[in-house]
Amino acid sequence: MKHVKMESYFSRLESFIDSLEDKKGSLITVLHKAQDIFGYLPEEVQSFVAKKLGIPRSKVYGVVTFYSFFTMTPKGKYPISVCLGTACYVRGAAKLLDEFKRKLEIDIGQTTKDGLFSLDGLRCVGACSLAPVVIIKDKVYGKVTVDMVEKIISEYKALGVV
């Protein structure tokens, strides 16, 4: 089943690349699409992109690792991003991040064993009046305090993996 799913992902990516009028300079655009489809950019996807665009794998890897938006590890079902912009920082974002790390027992860039949560720092979403801000999936939590962390996590735990 999983294999079939992967194949359909690859064919979607392939038709996207084929639809590009000008492949020159399109690497970042293609990687955005690939991450959109696969959720992350594992080695096999990078090789595929390199082959389709006719560029060395090392170049693809170089670009993937350069930009913070691209990730080589799968994200959790509920990716948690703690804003580490300056406004959030001076209003206590670092303490929040520590609390998430402690409660989830993972570090930045990691995913929990059950695949539910991944943790990331984020550079300013521009909702500075709500600082400190935490984003889980697409939902924005504003004026988050350390006490709220536990509750927020359990809210999502209750939703489960499916």
Binding site: K24, L27, V63, Y67, F70, T86, R123
Partner: protein, 579 residues
């Protein structure tokens, strides 16, 4: 019941201390005089906090400042009953501190409706420019004194002229919307609130320098801005403002959106161009400047969102109107994202030359929770801190540079007495270390070493000679790094070490953090005279570091304590203090 008049009482920040008393008194005197058709309404901030408390009578449009509760009788009896203005309280200077040029349409028009923009004279500047000669357009921008709003402050007209003079079959206009400065959201707000103003600015630039292709380089993290900009581009094409033979002039121009992928260095124009070509966003040394050899080695003019948004106004109203606003060398206005420990977090636009005091204590409503102002950081990770002594300096590009900071893109973060300036410097440096592209050694290695030295300071392990090392290394990095990111990375360090030398010394000499922010240097201690032994702290301590019998004073085991502060926040008897 319909009201003839309203008595507006400011209920925000500073005025808020008196507002209830003022409102209650006015209501009392209204009742006493049996007046029923005047209503007292509480309002948000007037942006005149220094002159507060503020009372405004509508529709008379009279503003009273510095109103005390005891003045209310006079206001009611003299003004509201006899219609005679209480002249001693009138706030004469009705001029607002803010002037919206770039934000002229933000929050007023529907950004997804091109007709809303046209109704506000949208695309009239384009029409006007197309009837002018290309060099006349450039001269107008030069005469206006407009300087790049992305941070550097390079004169926009000169930049355009340079690109205009290049001979090439293809030239590009690039809009830098890669707003990477943490704590800044000016460009996003303009793109989300008034995307057509940016498109029109790019069109005028394209006409002037002789380019038919524009690119907007923006952050993938700004989905709404991208959505609204895409809609605006589509509508502009349908109206024929983008495409071929625009408004019958023979000028062709179109715009494409390019996405970044989260790299701060891509705000630097050469790195941005590499990134648009699908490469790692590593900067290249200048010269050659993008105006000679940029995107795909063709002449490329890069300006930021706010710069472009100014252009239509300059063409419409004329350079001589624009250059009357601001200071001698910095014309026009600047948009700032005002954030941090300030009451009125917001997006503001002020004429160049306004003082920090006016921004922070009038528009910003002062410091949150009545704390003391300590510093304001401008220019983000490339900028520096300004302190109390700089509050009355008129701000423009040059004065900020002279003070060891910079205009930057417009992030303005206010800090109060609780913020440790060493930790703030470390925060910014951590950001640049993280964002360094790794191409040149001073930035890749130098900033990392600088960060480690700061880490020594905040953990109480530094010596005096480390402070000297910090200064020396900072200066070496400034002098030798390849691009703007590296060269400016030590600015937050240098500026805090100059302005807050005592704080650095306290970390080194006394191994203490005066603001109690540096975790390694704080100890939480229970005051045995105040502790009642309620055990609340024992229950919240995640590492079981607190011990003691019920109703007897407790103690924290310093070896086990992880300094999370949970006990400190829980104690109801103020028995736990930081040292």
């Amino acid at each position: 019941m319909s009201y003839q008049r309203y008595c507006l009482v400011c209920n925000s920040s500073k005025c808020g201390h008196y507002s209830k008393a003022i409102a209650d008194n006015i209501k009392h005197y209204l009742r006493e005089n049996n007046i029923k058709d005047i209503k007292v309404v509480m309002t948000e901030c007037f942006g005149l906090c220094k002159q507060g408390p503020i009372v405004k009578i509508m529709p008379d449009n009279i503003v009273y400042s510095g109103v005390k509760p005891m003045d209310t009788k006079e206001i009611v009896e003299k003004h509201l009953i006899n219609g005679e203005v209480v002249s001693r309280l009138v706030h004469e200077n009705k001029k607002s501190k803010q002037l919206k040029i770039v934000l002229r349409n933000c929050g007023f028009i529907d950004p997804e409706n091109i007709d809303d923009y046209i109704e506000k004279d949208g695309y009239f500047a384009l029409a006007k420019a197309l009837k002018m000669s290309r060099m006349d357009v450039i001269n107008e921008i030069k005469l206006s004194g407009l300087r790049g709003r992305g941070g550097g402050g390079f004169p926009t007209g000169l930049k355009w002229e340079y690109a205009y003079k290049q001979n090439s079959d293809q030239k590009y206009v690039v809009c830098n919307a890669d707003e990477g400065d943490p704590g800044a959201f000016m460009d996003r707000s303009v793109l989300e609130g008034d995307p057509h103003s940016v498109i029109e600015g790019m069109l005028i630039c394209g006409y002037a320098i002789g380019s038919n292709k524009g690119l907007v380089y923006t952050r993938a993290e700004y989905p709404l801005a991208v959505k609204r900009l895409s809609k605006a581009i589509k509508d502009a094409r349908e109206y024929g403002f983008l495409g071929n033979n625009i408004m019958g002039s023979g000028f062709n121009f179109d715009i494409e959106i390019k996405y970044g992928a989260g790299a701060f260095v891509c705000g630097e124009e050469t790195a941005l161009i590499r990134s648009m070509e699908g490469e790692r966003g590593e900067p290249t040394s200048k010269p050659p400047y993008p105006a000679e050899s940029g995107y795909w080695d063709k002449p490329t003019n890069v300006n930021n969102v706010e710069t472009f948004a100014n252009v239509p106004v300059i063409i419409n109203k004329g350079a001589n109107w624009f250059n009357k606003i601001g200071t001698e060398k910095s014309k026009g206005t600047k948009v700032f994202a005002l954030a941090g420990k300030i009451n009125n977090v917001g997006l503001i636009e002020v004429p160049m030359g306004i003082t920090l005091r006016e921004i922070i204590f009038d528009i910003g409503g002062g410091i949150k929770d009545g704390k003391r102002f300590k510093a304001v950081q401008t220019g983000g990770p490339s900028g520096g801190c300004l302190t109390e002594k700089d509050l009355d300096t008129p701000i423009d590009y040059d004065t900020l540079l002279a003070k060891g900071s910079m205009m930057g893109s417009g992030g303005m973060i206010v800090m109060d007495e609780d913020d440790c300036m060493v930790a703030v410097a470390k925060f910014y440096l951590e950001f640049t270390v993280d964002e360094s592209c790794g191409k040149c050694t001073p930035c890749r290695v130098g900033n990392k070493r600088l960060y480690e030295l700061l880490e020594k300071v905040t953990s109480g392990k530094a010596t005096f000679s480390d402070l000297d090392k910090i200064k020396n290394l900072s200066n070496v990095i400034k002098d030798t790094a390849l691009c703007g990111l590296g060269q400016t990375a030590p600015n937050p360090v240098l500026s805090t070490i100059t302005n807050f030398w005592d704080e650095y010394v306290a970390h080194v000499n006394e191994k203490s953090c005066p603001s109690g922010q540096c975790k390694e240097l704080i100890r939480y201690i229970i005051d045995h005279n105040k502790c009642v032994g309620c055990t609340a702290c024992v229950r919240v301590c995640p590492v079981y570091a607190i011990s003691g019998k019920v109703r007897e004073p407790h103690t924290i085991d310093q070896d086990k304590c992880i300094k999370c502060g949970a006990c400190y926040n829980t104690c109801k008897f103020d028995a736990i203090y930081k040292k």
